[in-house]
């Protein structure tokens, strides 16, 4: 077993091989072929480009931002777009909107990352256990899921935040608590089809226990459809976070969270439209990017297509 | 004149590794006869059947010098014209009837719909004709079957219903792609007998695509043996067991036989030259 490529054989050939020579080779080749499929989808690549750009902006915020996002300058309040020194204008307290937008991307990513970590994992756990165990476990877990699903999402989140107290962490927690039930349903549905497959019977006949079957055999097949669903839901999650911010229950002033920024700009929307519109456009762009990427990922990751 | 004449048919699929040729320059004709096409999976036999009806999905490409049906080149027809040909002149029966019938419509409605689509008659007439068709494929209780849904039917019944539907427009040619592979042997026999009777009675041409050499040699008049997208041998079906091409011989010898027990079966050793040599012309 060696990873060495023969002389004259390019990396591309090595990655495109049908006969991998080591575990690492097999995994890399598989990833690369998925990447090639994704790359062929120009809309998905466009979405991915926006998200990479957002990530870079968030990382380099202190370098990119022309001003301190919290620096008030009441002499220069509500400057229009294109004003000198303030490319996207200033808000009602004279803070530079561009800088606030740049710093706000950190908060957006923080929310997205936390929700994406909590909700699908909880859903996966509940869904696969319910689907594989069946019987009473299934009934109890799925009725709990139904109860959560029955509430309108934002109202439930509002109730949670009201109970937990306003703040960005609590908003994330509230959104996660309302976001997991659909994932549980998807994971359960997938598990029901997977668990009767021959390859699951085969590993059961080798004496594998339920824990091993769920984590090593069912999860890898559920995860891809969950990833797709999560990316498609991201837009909704960003909007929910922004909505909570807008209602004053998410990020607290003076934090430059995009939803909170719209909320602040609302008062001047007729005379100074850009104060609310610019963060709105930012939310729109990022949501769209996640949706486009999700669509592309569906084509690459859908287990029903793989191997054809 | 032949019913159908295919000249130099190619089916290509562009892939990341370049163009893959599924069918490579196949030529044959079909008279009022039962023509078998045999080969293993990947030999291009199903692709040939689908290409005639222009049912190859994108990005697949069908090319041929001509595919003539009564002097008309099917490749020159527009899609609406082609749809007419598919319904009225050439019909196709697929392997698994479960996927070909609409699960939420009763069988009667589906057959009648097919009939009304091709004939300008009343519903009552369509109903009478549908029942007659079901009787023609040896369904004992056609009234009950008309009211049933596809999932209530067994595999053999489903396949008979498919055949009945395909025969309603009175096509000149029937293409059957592994029509009995999903069925038990005893049912297989019945379905074949029905098809046989209908083909003879109506003077149709039948293209019977199968992987089963014994079945084809028993059921057809003439056989094309396909390998790697080409025809490697053409012979009369009853002389299939005297076939000369090493591939055909290899396939025949690799079958276990009740009357000739042996400890080990013969294994087919493939020769690159089989795939390289020119396609044999399948004209009679």
């Amino acid at each position: 077993m060696s990873d060495a490529t023969a002389p004259g054989q390019s990396w591309r050939d090595w990655l495109l091989t049908d006969a991998p020579t080591s575990r690492r080779h097999a995994r890399l080749a598989n990833l690369y072929q998925g990447w090639l499929k994704l790359r062929a989808n120009s809309m998905a690549m466009f979405g991915l480009g926006i998200l990479v750009f957002l990530l870079l902006v968030a990382l380099l915020a202190p370098v990119l931002a022309p001003h301190d996002p919290f620096q008030q300058d009441l002499a220069n309040r509500l400057l229009p777009i294109g004003a000198e020194n303030h490319l996207l204008g200033t808000d009602s307290l004279g803070r530079d909107i561009l800088s606030r937008l740049i710093y706000g991307s950190r908060i957006t990513l923080y929310i997205v990352a936390l929700v994406a970590l909590i909700a699908p994992v909880a859903g996966l756990l509940v869904g696969t256990v319910a689907g594989y165990a069946g019987g009473w476990t299934d009934t109890v877990l799925m009725r709990i899921t139904d109860i959560f699903l029955a509430f309108p999402r934002l109202v439930l989140a509002l109730a949670f935040v009201a109970a937990l107290g306003a703040g960005i962490e609590n908003a994330v927690l509230a959104i996660s608590l309302t976001a997991w039930p659909p994932y549980a349903r998807i994971a359960r549905a997938e598990t029901l089809t997977i668990r009767s497959a021959d390859y699951i019977s085969a590993i059961r006949l080798q004496g594998a226990g339920p824990l091993r079957i769920i984590t090593k055999h069912i999860w890898p097949l559920c995860i891809s459809s969950l990833i797709v669903r999560v990316t498609l839901d991201m837009a909704g999650i960003i909007l929910a976070a922004a909505g909570l911010g807008f209602l004053g229950l998410g990020a607290q002033p003076p934090s430059p969270e995009w939803g909170a920024m719209i909320s602040e700009g609302r008062r001047f929307i007729l005379d100074h439209w850009w104060v609310a519109t610019v963060p709105g456009l930012a939310i729109f762009t990022v949501s769209l990017a996640f949706n486009l990427l999700g669509d592309g990922l569906r084509d690459v990751l859908d287990p029903k297509d793989s191997g054809q | 004149m032949s019913l159908l004449e295919v000249e130099n048919l190619w089916v290509r699929f562009p892939t990341r590794q370049g163009i893959f040729d599924a069918v490579r320059g196949v030529s044959f004709n079909l008279n009022r006869e039962r023509l078998g096409i045999v080969g293993e999976s990947g030999s291009g036999k199903s692709m040939t059947g689908r290409a005639i009806l222009r049912l190859i999905r994108k990005p697949g490409i069908v090319e041929a010098d001509h595919i003539n049906l009564e002097g008309r080149n099917l490749l020159d027809l527009s899609e609406p014209e082609m749809r007419k040909v598919r319904g009225q002149q050439i019909s196709m029966v697929m392997q698994d009837p479960k996927f070909s019938l609409n699960p939420v419509m009763t069988i009667g409605d589906q057959i009648m719909e097919a009939y009304l689509l091709h004939n300008d008659t009343t519903k009552a007439q369509a109903r009478a004709k549908s029942i007659a068709m079901l009787e023609a494929v040896s369904i004992r209780n056609p009234e009950r079957v008309m009211r049933a849904y596809p999932h209530e039917m067994s595999g053999g019944m489903g396949q008979r219903i498919m055949i009945a539907m395909m025969l309603i427009p009175d096509p000149q040619i029937l293409i059957a792609d592994e029509p009995t592979s999903a069925l038990d042997v005893s049912v297989q026999r019945q379905v074949l007998d029905i098809m046989d009777g209908l083909v003879k009675e109506r003077g149709m041409g039948l293209i019977f695509i199968s992987h089963d050499l014994n079945l084809v040699s028993e059921f057809c008049d003439r056989v094309l043996i396909m390998y790697a997208g080409r025809i490697v041998e053409v012979c009369d079906a009853d002389k299939l067991h005297e076939a000369t091409h090493p591939y055909t011989r290899g396939l025949l010898n690799s079958l276990p036989r009740l009357d000739q027990p042996k400890a080990r079966l013969e294994v087919l050793t493939r020769d690159d030259s089989w795939a390289q040599s020119k396609s044999v012309r399948g004209h009679s």
Partner: protein, 249 residues
Amino acid sequence: MTALSIKDLNVWFGHDHDRVDAVKGAAFDVRQGESFGLVGESGSGKSTILKAITGLAPTWSGEIRVEGQALQGATRDRAFYKTVQMVFQDPYASLHPRHTVDQVLSETLYLHGFGDIDAHVMRLLDDVGLGGKFRFRYPHQLSGGQRQRVAVARALAGEPDILFLDEPTSALDVSVQAEILNLLTDLRQEHSLTYLMVSHDLPVIGHMCDRLAVMKDGEIVEIMQTEDLRQGTAKHAYSQALLAASAAA
């Protein structure tokens, strides 16, 4: 010695009105080292017998003994999995689509408590005629025959005494079928295995088995020697009909 002994086996699915009796009062013995066939059409209950023995069909009654040990319910212990293994019908469905050959075999070996898994994987691949170059491929990079070889390797990993073969070649081309059947013949000799083979294909059963049971609607209608099958001296009317149909097709 008897490898497998079945008495008055009933298997059913569902209960009350929906109850379907898939196997009714089946009884047969398979001797150590013998190859025994179960023949019948779809729905005759032949595969269900395998499922009941392996614990994949939990609702059964009667007596099943594997190497003298009586089985209970649907739970099977580690010793059972080391004695009995199974090759499934469709090699396209019996391999996990996201696991390489290496993962499939390594996990199986790990579950059976083997050390030095690398060496074992290579030996298994050699045993089934695949060789090391297939070790890190995903199922979609293998042909049907190659997949079935992997499935055979997986079944052999725990070094079982009894191998269940559920229509192991019905999804394969005839030339590939010959290769897999030859492989199974060789492996049976090398590892002195006992086979219980299910198939609808009489010539295949005739080639592989010493004795066979003919099943119809969940019941065993006849148990006979393969020699009787060859001579066409089946006693039961249904066996004769099956034989006639398969000879004609």
